[in-house]
């Protein structure tokens, strides 16, 4: 849910771009984080915890808490709350802890 007008702030958004979330094409804006774009698209569950498999969402939004780790262009454990969205990016739900190449 994007704010369209605000009494105090102005939001200068970049170019609209496409990216892929679990294979599905979504739109976002250049310059924003992956988490912001997913949130705006209504994606609240970003993954599940390893042991109890409980849903995980955005929590701190500044790269502290590891609640938003996803696989981005094949790389696991990316903190999508601080990683910038790029055109054509492939963002996938992470299963397990991810492994070294």
């Amino acid at each position: 849910m994007r704010i369209t007008e605000h009494p105090i702030l102005e939001f200068l958004r970049g170019e609209e771009i496409s990216f892929f979330y679990n294979g599905q094409e979504l739109k976002g804006f250049e310059g924003e984080t992956i988490a912001a774009a997913l949130h705006a698209a209504g994606v609240k569950v970003l993954g599940h915890s390893h042991t109890m498999h409980r849903p995980r969402g955005l929590f701190c939004a500044i790269g502290n808490c590891s609640s938003c780790l996803m696989v981005v262009d094949g790389e696991p454990n990316v903190r999508i709350c601080v990683e910038k969205l790029k055109p054509g990016m492939r963002v996938e739900t992470q299963q397990g802890k991810g492994s070294l190449k």
Partner: protein, 364 residues
């Protein structure tokens, strides 16, 4: 290895103020900021700041943030590295950092740690559901990216952050179901509370959350009243249909680097946790390492900016800059801090600093 006179870790209100103060006296400064943009939490604040003209009172937080960024940008003596996270401070004085996937080494003459604070968490069933956010996350999402977290919010905590973020949510068109606070009184400024209350938002003191519920994300929360011993009162439960629960339950100083650098630390509840012991010019027990802002005790951004200025002046002075001007500037900054903290609102901080410095009398 990058060599620099003053290294500042953290580009928020304290760090940026420290940078321009040190640079104004002639020192070369490098600021490390882990985020993409400097400004810290200031750039996410839509309300006008309190204080006096000297702390930019009347300007909105984001405007002050932009001003501090501009001051650093236009100074030839200040370099700001964004997307850079400090990793460690070593015995030989080398500081390591991760900068855009590169491991970098920096050799500073003086260090100012201005890392700020992190948000606290509280315990209740299902507190890990998506839809539960730290207040800082809501601010980032809403005021940086222009995205609202949901439709209807339960705010937990009526300190300044809980009140301010509630107001910001309302400005973005989001409904606040209630603001609850476990303490018997509102902790934040009452003018913030009153402006929210008169717009129709209930502020419930002596209330806590007993659980959140929802399948894949928050669908509601149960709150209840607390007695004078902070125990839940049976039969006072209320079910609120909300899709967002926002936690504004306090901050802890981000002191890992101070611990790691072997600064002597002390637990001072009034300053919100473990903080480094320091002298009145903000130098810690590790010579040449200064602290400023929330890392030295959680407070308002106004005092963080003055502390930053004080630490910047002190670091530059110790390098031989501003031999004439610095002592006077230091006294001015100390007087401002004293002024900001001398009223009832600053009582807790004053008490904390007294404990920290083991002094019988109040010294900033």
């Amino acid at each position: 290895m990058k060599e620099i006179e003053v290294l500042i870790i953290g580009g928020g209100p304290a760090g940026l103020s420290a940078a321009s103060a040190a640079a104004n006296l002639g020192a070369s400064v490098l600021v490390l900021e882990r985020d993409e943009l400097p400004g810290g939490q200031l750039v996410k604040q839509t309300h006008k700041f309190f204080g006096s003209k000297k702390q930019y009172a009347g300007d909105r937080g984001f405007q002050i943030g932009n001003l501090l960024i501009e001051q650093c940008k236009t100074s030839a003596k200040v370099e700001v590295w964004t997307n850079t996270t400090a990793l460690g401070i070593y015995e030989d004085g080398v500081v390591t950092a991760e900068s855009q996937d590169e491991h970098v080494k920096i050799k500073p003459k003086k260090i100012i740690v201005a890392t700020g604070a992190s948000e606290k968490m509280i315990v209740f069933p299902n507190n890990d559901l998506p839809g539960i956010y730290g207040a800082g996350a809501v601010q980032t999402l809403m005021n940086v990216h222009g995205i609202v977290p949901g439709q209807r919010v339960l705010m937990i905590g009526a300190g300044n952050i809980g009140l301010i973020v509630s107001y910001q949510l309302m400005q973005a068109g989001v409904e606040i179901a209630a603001i609850i606070e476990a303490a018997p009184a509102i902790g934040g400024y009452l003018v913030h509370a009153s402006k929210i209350r008169r717009a129709g938002v209930p502020i419930l003191t002596s209330h806590t959350i007993t659980e959140a519920y929802g399948q894949e994300s928050v669908e509601g929360a149960v709150i209840c009243k607390l007695d004078e011993n902070w125990q839940p009162i049976q039969g006072t439960e209320q079910d609120l249909k909300v899709d967002v629960i926002c936690l504004a339950v306090g901050l802890s100083p981000l002191t890992e680097l101070c611990f790691q650098a072997d600064c002597r630390m002390k637990y001072v509840p009034e300053l919100s946790g473990h903080v480094p012991i320091r002298d009145e010019y903000l130098e810690t027990t590790r010579p040449g390492l200064y602290v400023a802002g929330d890392v030295s005790g959680v407070e308002e951004a106004s005092s963080a900016m003055v502390e930053g200025r004080l630490a910047g002046i002190s670091a530059a002075y110790s390098l031989g800059y501003g031999l004439e001007a610095a002592p006077k500037l230091q006294e001015e900054a100390l007087a401002e801090l004293n002024e900001l903290r001398s009223g009832p609102a600053g009582h807790k901080t004053m008490k904390g600093i007294m404990k920290l410095m083991d002094k019988g009398e109040v010294v900033c």
